[in-house]
């Protein structure tokens, strides 16, 4: 029982020694550790070795070479430029999308009125001119989709142009 307690005390002392770093140990721990080290030669030796090990650790110099630093700075600047250009392109695309959406909305309203007027003039049922309006609106996207799907198929020749 006593030996177990002693072992606990040694382990505690060694852990406190190892963990004592930039910030000081709490007062009670520091007092206890100092008292223990006074009486325990093996923990004192551990503390001394730990001190020397830490000193040796700090003495291993690893420095970055100038070329590494300048290469890194160049790469970072280049990447920053790429990101900035990407952001600018994204901004342009966003503005274009917004403009296209607004124009599409406005022209859709105008077209709707136009089809309505034509339908009335031609005395067509409202469902007919409404279908006509829908086909007219969807047609460009439909044609573009068909052409894109037809790319690299038997409809396109090797130069990429479409056969008639």
């Amino acid at each position: 029982m006593n030996t177990a307690m002693n072992n606990d005390a040694h382990e505690r002392a060694r852990k406190l020694t190892a963990l004592a770093g930039p910030e000081a140990l709490p007062g009670a721990d520091q007092t206890w550790l100092a008292a223990h080290l006074e009486t325990c030669a093996s923990c004192r030796a551990f503390a001394e070795n730990a001190r020397e090990t830490i000193h040796a650790l700090r003495a291993i110099p690893i420095a970055a070479e100038r070329s590494l630093v300048s290469t890194t700075q160049t790469k970072v600047r280049r990447r920053a430029l790429e990101l900035q250009q990407h952001r600018e392109r994204l901004w342009l695309v966003s503005i274009s999308c917004t403009a296209v959406t607004l124009f599409a909305l406005l022209s859709a309203v105008a077209l709707w009125r136009g089809f309505e007027w034509l339908g009335a003039r031609a005395q067509l049922a409202s469902s007919v001119w409404q279908v006509g309006f829908l086909v007219f609106c969807v047609m460009p996207a439909l044609v573009a989709g068909i052409l894109l799907l037809a790319k690299d198929t038997h409809l396109a020749n090797h130069t990429g142009s479409y056969q008639g």
């Binding site: 963990l19 040796a56 003495a59 291993i60 110099p61 890194t72 900035q84």
Partner: protein, 197 residues
């Protein structure tokens, strides 16, 4: 004393805020300055973490690119160095995962000796020789330590980080950090007098 501590704390907080602001703007001048400022500390951390100088240099460059790209994620309530080391650590782990599915355990030695101890300057011949010998032994011992112990030791004794900061970088509980430091230091102890049998 309290006024001095307050001054340092507030100036550090102000610096962190400026860094966070600059990183959100992706300010290249700020990044240049940060690369200069943290060059040795970051490289040293990566060399200890990976155990390989060449790999550490590659990761050094990747880390700064990542800092540029993800700079908006930096929160100024943390020290910049803590975030920087966490970024570097994640990249090192990603690198090892690509090579083999493992965490830091994959960062083992492959015969390279990255912790070369250069000849020390003047001072008493015997002391210098003794110190140099000890440093060489410890450098050799470091190569035999597991990566997580090396990491804990370098962050604690070279970077002077608090236990909480180390826990934050390594993303492990405080108890694990304490245990790694204690075990790492204990494992290095036999190396102080030379390679253990």
């Amino acid at each position: 004393m309290n006024a001095t501590a307050f001054y340092f704390e507030s100036s550090m907080a102000q610096e962190s805020t400026e860094i966070a602001r600059g990183l959100r703007r992706r300010d290249p001048d700020l990044l240049d300055r940060l690369i200069e400022q943290y060059q040795h500390r970051l490289l040293r951390y990566l060399v200890y973490l990976t155990g390989r100088r060449a790999l550490a240099e590659d990761l050094f460059q990747e880390t700064w690119i990542r800092v540029l790209e993800r700079g908006h994620q930096y929160k100024d309530k943390y020290a910049f160095s803590t975030w920087l080391f966490a970024v570097a650590r994640n990249l090192a782990i990603d690198h090892m995962r690509r090579k083999q599915p493992a965490s830091l355990d994959g960062l083992l030695n492959d015969g390279e000796a990255p912790f070369d101890v250069p000849a020390t300057g003047q001072a008493s011949a015997f002391d210098v020789a003794l110190r140099r010998e000890q440093n060489e032994h410890i450098a050799a011992g470091m190569q035999h330590l597991a990566a997580e112990y090396r990491e804990a030791l370098v962050l604690r004794f070279q970077e002077g980080m608090s236990l909480e900061e180390i826990a934050s970088v390594a993303r492990v509980p405080l108890g694990t950090v304490k245990s790694r430091i204690y075990r790492g230091l204990s494992a290095l102890e036999p190396w102080l007098k030379g390679a253990p049998l």
